[in-house]
C-alpha cells in the first residue's frame, strides 16, 4: 500500500489540466529562500500524510517485540504470518474475513438503493421547474448539514421496531438514505450538462421517458455514476457512528467497527493488529489510485452545485 504509483495518474492529470495550469508552468526562474522554506513545508506535510501508510505497512511485517523495540519499522525480522493471524482473528471476535464480507454486503445494498434513488432524484432535479428544483435541493442540502448524532437515537429506535438492528440490511438502508442527497446533488449537475435535445430525440423514436433515461441518458453519464458510487463506497467503508450503535453483534459488524474490537483483541499481537489495518485500508486505497480522477471530480461537483 505504501508503494503507490501516482506518477502515472499525475501525468495524465497535467495533460488535462487546461490552459490555466500550463501557462503557470511555463515560467522558470530562480527561487528565493522564502520559496524553498515554503516548499520544505509542503514536503513536510507530505511526509506527515504518508507516515501512517508507510508505518502501518512496515509494522505489519514485524513481530510484537520487534515493533516495541523499533517503532519505525525499518529494522527487525520480516514475516508474513501476521496477515494469517489477522485474517483468522482472535478469540472473542469474528475473523476479519467476516468483517470484510459484511462491509462488502452493506456497501452493495446501500449503493444499489442510494445510487438508484439519488440518480433518479438528480435527474428529477435537473428536469423539473426552477422553483421545485430549488426547494428540493434546499431539502437535500439541509439533510446533508444535519449532525448525524441528532438522528442516532430515533434511528436506533426505528430499526429496533422493524427488527432491523444487528442487520446488514438495516444499516444499509440508513447509509442509502444519507447517501441520497449527495448523489442527488452531484447527479443534478451531471444531468444538467446533458443536452436536452438528446432526450427529445429519444422521445421522437417513441421511447417513453424512463426507457430514454435508462437506454440513452445513463450511458452518457456513466462517469458521474462511477464518481458517486465511489464516494458512496468510501462513506460506507469508513462510517463509524451508526455502525457502533446499530451493529453490536460481532458477526454482523462492518470492518470500520470490527477493527475497534480487533484493537482490543490484538493488544499482545501488534503485528497482526497492523496487518488488520492494512487489510482494511488496502481496498479503498487501491480503488482510489485507480479511479483517482473520478473520485476527485465527484467531490468537486458535489460542492459546486
Amino acid at each position: 500500500m505504501a508503494v503507490l504509483s501516482p506518477s502515472a495518474t499525475a501525468r495524465r492529470d497535467d495533460v488535462d489540466a487546461g490552459p490555466a495550469r500550463r501557462t503557470v508552468r511555463r515560467r522558470r526562474r530562480a527561487h528565493g529562500p522564502l520559496w524553498w522554506i515554503g516548499y520544505l513545508l509542503l514536503v513536510a506535510w507530505t511526509v506527515i500524510t504518508l507516515l501512517p501508510f508507510v508505518s502501518m505497512f512496515l509494522l505489519s511485517f514485524h513481530s510484537t517485540p520487534d515493533i516495541y523495540a523499533h517503532p519505525l519499522g525499518f529494522t527487525g525480522s520480516w514475516r508474513l504470518d501476521n496477515y494469517v493471524s489477522a485474517w483468522v482473528g482472535a478469540a472473542g471476535g469474528a475473523p476479519i474475513a467476516v468483517y470484510l464480507l459484511n462491509s462488502f454486503l452493506v456497501a452493495v445494498i446501500a449503493l444499489a438503493i442510494g445510487v438508484t434513488f439519488g440518480t433518479l432524484a438528480g435527474y428529477g432535479l435537473a428536469r423539473v421547474g426552477a422553483r421545485l428544483g430549488t426547494a428540493v435541493s434546499r431539502v437535500f442540502v439541509l439533510a446533508l448539514s444535519i449532525p448525524l448524532v441528532v438522528t442516532l437515537i430515533p434511528i436506533f429506535k426505528l430499526l429496533g421496531s422493524l427488527v432491523l438492528l444487528n442487520s446488514v440490511v438495516g444499516i444499509a438502508l440508513v447509509y442509502a438514505a444519507f447517501m441520497t442527497p449527495t448523489v442527488g446533488l452531484i447527479m443534478r449537475s451531471v444531468f444538467g450538462a446533458v443536452p436536452a435535445e438528446l432526450l427529445e430525440a429519444a422521445r421522437l423514436d417513441g421511447c417513453n421517458e424512463l426507457t430514454a433515461l435508462w437506454r440513452i441518458i445513463l450511458p452518457v453519464v456513466r462517469g458521474g455514476l462511477v464518481s458517486v458510487s465511489l464516494l458512496g463506497l468510501i462513506f460506507v467503508w469508513g462510517e463509524v457512528q451508526f455502525a457502533v450503535v446499530l451493529l453490536s453483534r460481532p458477526q454482523v459488524k462492518t470492518l470500520a467497527v470490527g477493527l475497534l474490537s480487533f484493537q482490543g483483541q490484538f493488544v499482545s499481537d501488534q503485528g497482526a493488529f497492523y496487518a488488520g489495518l492494512v487489510i482494511a485500508t488496502a481496498p479503498v486505497v487501491i480503488l482510489f489510485v485507480i479511479f483517482q480522477r473520478s473520485i476527485t471530480k465527484g467531490v468537486t461537483l458535489g460542492a459546486f452545485r
Binding site: D14, T23, A280
Partner: protein, 284 residues
C-alpha cells in the same frame, strides 16, 4: 410529470431516515426512554438538567475548542496546499493525489493508528521526538492537557485533503492572466494570495469553512477510535457524550436533549460563519 416522480423515492428515503429521526429526537428529548417501550413525557426536565450539568458544560467547551482548532488549522493548511498546487509547484500532480489520501481511509484506521503513534515509549511520535532529544515518555493521550490536541491533529490530518481539493477547484477557475498581470506589477506571492486569490474564492472558502465546522462536530469516529472520549471526559466532544449517555447509560431522553442542543449549536455556528463570509464578500 416524469421528472417529478423521479424525486419521490429519494425524498421518501430522506423523510424516513433523516427528517423523521430529527423530529423524533426532539420528541424523545422531552421525555425519558430506557430503550424499550414508550417514551414517557417529562416536559423540559432534560433541558433543565443540561443547564446545571457540569459534564455537559465541559463537553460543550471541549467541542467548541475542538471545532475551533480543527476548522482553523484545516482551512489554513488547505489554503496553503491548494495555493501551492494552483501556482504550479514542481510535483503538484503527485501532491494532489497524496494529500487527498487520508480522506479515503476509514476513520477508525486513522484513529487507532494515531492512537498507537501517540503511545508513550512505543509510539512513533515519541520515538521521533526522542531521536531529536525531546524526550520519549510523553503520555499524550493519557494527559487531559494534551489529549484534545492529539485528537484534533488526527482530525485535521483526515480532513485537510478534502478542503484542499474543494479550494483547488475554486482556485483553478481564476484566469492565469490575473496573476500574471499582478506579478508584472510587482505584487509578491503572499500579497497575491491575500489580495487576489482569497477574495475571488471567498464563496468557496465560506462553504469549505462551514463544511469543516460540521465535520468537526461530526468527528465521532476519530475521537471514539482514539480515546473513546477519555481520559475521563477530557476528549468527549458532544456526539461522544450523546453516545455515552444514551447507549452506555441507557438514558436516551437525556441523550436526545444533548443531541438536539448539539444540532442547534452546529446550526448557529454554520449560519454565523456563512454570514461572516457573506459580509466579507459584500465589502470586497
Amino acid at each position: 410529470m416524469f421528472p417529478v416522480l423521479c424525486l419521490i423515492p429519494g425524498l421518501v428515503l430522506v423523510a424516513v431516515f433523516v427528517a423523521y429521526p430529527v423530529l423524533e429526537s426532539v420528541h424523545v428529548s422531552f421525555g425519558s426512554w430506557d430503550g424499550v417501550g414508550a417514551v414517557v413525557f417529562r416536559g423540559v426536565q432534560n433541558y433543565v438538567r443540561l443547564v446545571s450539568d457540569g459534564v455537559f458544560g465541559s463537553s460543550l467547551v471541549t467541542s467548541l475548542e475542538f471545532f475551533l482548532l480543527v476548522t482553523a488549522f484545516t482551512v489554513a493548511i488547505a489554503v496553503l496546499l491548494a495555493n501551492a498546487i494552483s501556482r504550479g509547484v514542481p510535483g503538484g500532480g503527485f501532491f494532489r493525489v497524496v494529500w487527498f489520501l487520508p480522506v479515503i481511509v476509514p476513520t477508525t484506521v486513522s484513529g487507532v493508528f494515531w492512537a498507537s503513534a501517540f503511545q508513550p515509549t512505543t509510539g512513533i511520535v515519541n520515538t521521533l521526538l526522542g531521536a531529536v532529544g525531546l524526550g520519549s515518555a510523553h503520555a499524550w493521550l493519557a494527559e487531559g492537557s494534551t489529549v484534545l490536541y492529539c485528537v484534533a491533529f488526527a482530525a485535521i490530518w483526515t480532513q485537510a485533503g478534502y478542503a484542499m481539493l474543494l479550494l483547488l477547484g475554486a482556485m483553478e477557475t481564476i484566469p492565469p492572466e490575473v496573476h500574471e498581470a499582478a506579478e508584472l506589477d510587482g505584487v509578491g506571492p503572499v500579497a497575491r494570495l491575500f489580495r487576489i486569490t482569497l477574495p475571488i474564492i471567498l464563496p468557496m472558502l465560506g462553504t469549505v469553512t462551514v463544511l469543516m465546522a460540521v465535520f468537526s462536530f461530526n468527528a465521532f469516529g476519530i475521537v471514539y477510535a482514539m480515546t473513546q472520549g477519555g481520559p475521563g471526559n477530557a476528549s468527549a466532544i458532544l456526539p461522544v457524550l450523546v453516545y455515552k449517555e444514551s447507549f452506555l447509560q441507557q438514558d436516551y431522553g437525556y441523550g436526545s436533549a444533548t443531541a438536539v442542543v448539539t444540532c442547534l449549536v452546529v446550526g448557529a455556528i454554520g449560519i454565523a460563519v456563512l454570514r461572516l463570509f457573506r459580509r466579507q464578500a459584500m465589502e470586497a
